[in-house]
């Protein structure tokens, strides 16, 4: 039991998909569901009696239940209602987001602004919703590793600020996980790619072209004296080193990190990004186009949440099709015999998203500059995130860095794999790897006149610490308030306020006498810790933190207890629901295939399948034995294997005919 409790899982908590991976002696691997899927869609549906479905089923149900479905919650993590409204983010989301009434800090001058989602009359904060996704992943890990898993490494976009990181850690706690580390997604990806160095070193050395490498090979990032210009701080080539750019464009976030890798040490030189740009935004550009055209052609505006949700999933589908095909047809039934039809070419799609892709390249340029390098000095470019499947993105990244990017590992799984590797390091299972990461945005405090005084500059190595001295303005003053900020701009109003830190318990002295040393420590998670000492008396000043956009410690504790109460619902029951849904899905699919290609099967085989469909449905309805149902489902899949093969062949044949004609 103790051995299992020492296992630390790696979790990629994504905007559109989440994954869990584990690393053992054979290396890291993604844990898959019973259908073999690694990705768990970060979708949730809530039915009126409070039951929650997470994942693929929820995604499929979102069209029917747009108001009780939640997705893209990562875009709301650690952000306030007011800023989400101002940025126009909320206009794109069908579910209702409100400003959460404050539990504490009402006496504070600082206005707290925490967003929450209202679902079936219940208010849930983004960390609570993310916790449900984390819990589903944790259950998957518990089932497959056979026990109670309590520790995790969770990844966040490198460009996440302190509030967004805190929110992610809070989500882990609410899900009953000890978050042993928050690591940056691009860094995790580099770790996954660099893993096979020792084993692969000999046969991989000297192979420069990465494009046609087999998809399972790890890459020699820390290649010995490999090709490419290496330029360190002194502009000299260093042996045993490789400089890597990780371009990570996911569902809702974008990061670019420049790393120097040598002998198992992954040193992040700089990072840049946008925590609100990704595949979602590309979908939105298609949605915008279609909405406009429907409005002009039919004088109709799409108001119904169900239609909007349908349009959203159609747009995502079209976007994905356009990665492999030059054009995609789309059709929307508008009712009353009217339908909207058009063909969207890849060219048009590229012109829609081009400006957004260009902003990612501007971020690449700044990251390269901040690292003190030029694009030519980068030895390897790694693509991470589903949105890097888009040909335009690949082309532009290739042009910018002047080299073909590596894509050998699945861009959707590589972050989770890296998180699992770091989890193994922290569990003490590996000693060969060290991550040296940076803080993405400068940290500072508000000074007189509304100016931001920077204490820790962006791209500083973490952990790092700065001590600043404060005093009092009034005789006998016993507390001091400090507004802590994050951002690059000079004025407080252009930066993000992380929260108000109130120092209490300062011994009463004449104004200006106390010497309060406040230490700002950014820990290895990139999260700020503040402590203070009054140096004349040596007394530790206590600190109360009121996070501007986040939850207080008490709030997180309460939510954890609440979630725990909900979590006691039987895990088997949960699995049973998933299996029943799978039965419904598989039997329905088999019926459709029978209609389409069943004629080619013999009469007896057809009858056998029809009977098997009925039997499986009957079993699903009456049994409470999840294992038995799982076995029956597998047996059913074997029975219908031949049919499935025929259906696939038929589809391919149709496809070929279409191409020929």
């Amino acid at each position: 039991m103790s051995a299992l409790q020492d296992i630390v899982i790696g979790i990629d908590l994504g905007t559109t998909n989440s994954l869990v991976a584990v690393c053992d002696d054979t290396g890291p691997r993604v844990l898959r569901d019973e259908a073999g899927q690694g990705c768990l869609p970060s979708f949730l549906t809530f039915d009126p009696n409070g039951a929650v479905t997470v994942g693929e089923q929820a995604k499929q149900h979102a069209v029917e239940n747009p108001l009780s479905s939640i997705f893209s919650i990562k875009r709301l993590m650690g952000r306030g209602f007011d800023e989400l409204t101002a940025s126009g983010e909320l206009a794109h989301l069908p579910f209702r987001v409100v400003k959460r009434a404050s539990e504490v800090g009402s006496t504070s001058a600082q206005q707290r602004d925490v967003a929450a989602v209202e679902i079936n009359g219940r208010l849930l904060t983004p960390p609570e919703i993310s916790a449900l996704v984390l819990r589903a992943l944790r259950e998957r890990a518990c089932q497959q590793l056979g026990g109670d898993i309590r520790k995790a490494v969770i990844t966040v976009p490198a460009y996440f600020d302190d509030a967004q990181r805190q929110a992610t850690r809070d989500a882990g706690r609410i899900a009953g996980l000890e978050v042993v580390r928050i690591i940056n997604e691009p860094t995790a990806a580099a770790l996954a790619y660099g893993l096979g160095v020792r084993e692969q070193d000999d046969n991989a050395r000297g192979s420069e072209a990465g494009a046609d490498r087999p998809a399972t090979t790890a890459l020699p990032l820390a290649e010995r004296g490999g090709a490419g210009e290496l330029s360190g701080l002194t502009g000299e080539r260093r042996a045993h080193e490789s400089v890597v750019a990780v371009y990570d464009l996911g569902g809702g976030t974008f990061d670019v990190s420049i790393l120097r890798i040598s002998g198992g040490v992954y040193e992040v030189l700089s990072t840049h990004g946008n925590s609100c740009l990704g595949g979602d935004d590309f979908d939105r550009s298609i949605i915008g186009l279609v909405q406009n055209e429907i409005e002009t052609q039919f004088e109709l505006s799409i108001e119904s949440p169900a239609t909007r949700q349908a349009l959203r999933s159609l747009a995502e589908h079209v976007k994905m099709r356009l990665s492999s095909e030059r054009q995609a047809a789309l059709e929307i039934d508008l009712g009353h015999g009217r339908s909207y039809r058009r063909t969207l070419t890849r060219q048009l799609f590229e012109s829609l998203i081009g400006p957004q892709v260009d902003t990612t390249l501007a971020a690449c340029r700044r990251a390269v500059e901040d690292a003190g390098l030029t694009p030519e000095a980068i030895d390897r470019v790694i693509l991470v995130g589903g949105s890097t499947r888009i040909p335009l993105v690949r082309r532009k990244v290739e042009d910018f860095f002047g080299r073909v990017p590596y894509t050998a590992l699945n861009p959707e799984e590589v972050v989770a794999l890296g998180a699992a590797v770091q989890a193994a390091v922290l569990a003490g299972r590996r000693r060969d790897t060290l991550l040296l990461d940076v803080i993405p945005l400068s940290l500072g405090i508000e000074t007189l006149g509304g100016a931001m005084s920077k204490l820790i500059l962006r791209n500083s190595r973490i952990p790092c610490q700065v001590t600043e001295r404060f005093s009092t303005f009034v005789d006998g003053q016993t507390n001091v308030k400090i507004n802590v900020l994050q951002g690059e701009r000079e004025l407080v109003r252009d930066c993000r306020s992380l929260g108000e830190f109130e120092l209490r318990g300062i011994p009463p002295m004449p104004a200006g006498m106390p010497k309060i040393a406040v230490s700002f420590l950014v820990d290895e998670n990139g999260i700020l810790n503040v402590s203070a000492v009054e140096e004349r008396s040596g007394r530790q000043a206590s600190i109360q933190i009121v996070p501007t956009h986040g939850l207080t410690t008490e709030e997180v504790q309460r939510m954890e207890l609440e979630a725990y109460a909900h979590a006691r619902e039987d895990m088997t029951a949960h699995r049973l629901i998933d299996l029943r849904n799978q039965v419904a899905f598989d039997t329905h699919k088999a019926e459709r295939m029978l209609e389409q290609v069943g004629d080619a099967l013999g009469e007896s085989k057809r009858a056998e399948i029809t009977a098997a469909i009925a039997d499986l449905r009957a079993l699903a309805e009456k049994t409470d034995d999840a294992d038995a149902l799982y076995d029956a489902l597998n047996a059913f899949d074997r029975t219908t294997l031949k049919l499935a093969e025929m259906a696939i062949t038929a589809t391919l044949r149709q496809g070929n005919q279409a191409r020929e004609s």
């Binding site: 000299e236 910018f400 060290l434 040296l436 790092c464 610490q465 950014v522 290895e524």
Partner: protein, 217 residues
Amino acid sequence: MDSSTRPSYPTRCEQCDKPMDSPIACSSCGALTELPADAFNCFELFGVAPGFDIDLDALHRKYLQLSRLIHPDLTGAADEPDRRRSLMLSARFNQAYEVLRHPVNRAEYLLRLAGGANCCEDKSVPEDLLGRILTLREQIDEAREEGRTEVLAELGSQTRASRAAAMDRIAHLARVLAGGDSQPETCRELRQQLNAVKYWDSLLEQISAARPDDPTQ
């Protein structure tokens, strides 16, 4: 906090008695120092002699080598106090690396060790500086409004040249300080030149911000 008159630090490991390159961790047995993280100045942490001229490659190698010994991920700290010590040591060590690897920070630090004023205590700048900065700032604004990127590029190289000249002077003065000659005039001029670099840097940022976000630039 730091002082050049600090008593000498241990050069042999208290655990295994092997000689140590750096007083914070023993590369032979992995033992970490029992002393608080701020007991050493930045040069001492890296086990190098105080000075303006530093071999950056050697510094980087040492940074990686010592990071492996002190980073909380790898020390396998058994309890919270141990973990905390390793965390604070890493934080201090990372800060020291930032100080030593950037020439401006290094010069600032040498000035501080010599007892010179910091930038809040003495905000003065070389005589003709403010006039030059104002003129350039106007030219940048004008070029930005007219969208003349080639003028911006020219102003950029002018600014970089002025910054480089200030850096040359800083290097010279910092070497004099590190040589043990901490005359008040040397400290004061170094302070002014370091203040000047801040002005040049903010000007460069202004030029960079005025540049349109063209990724090919």
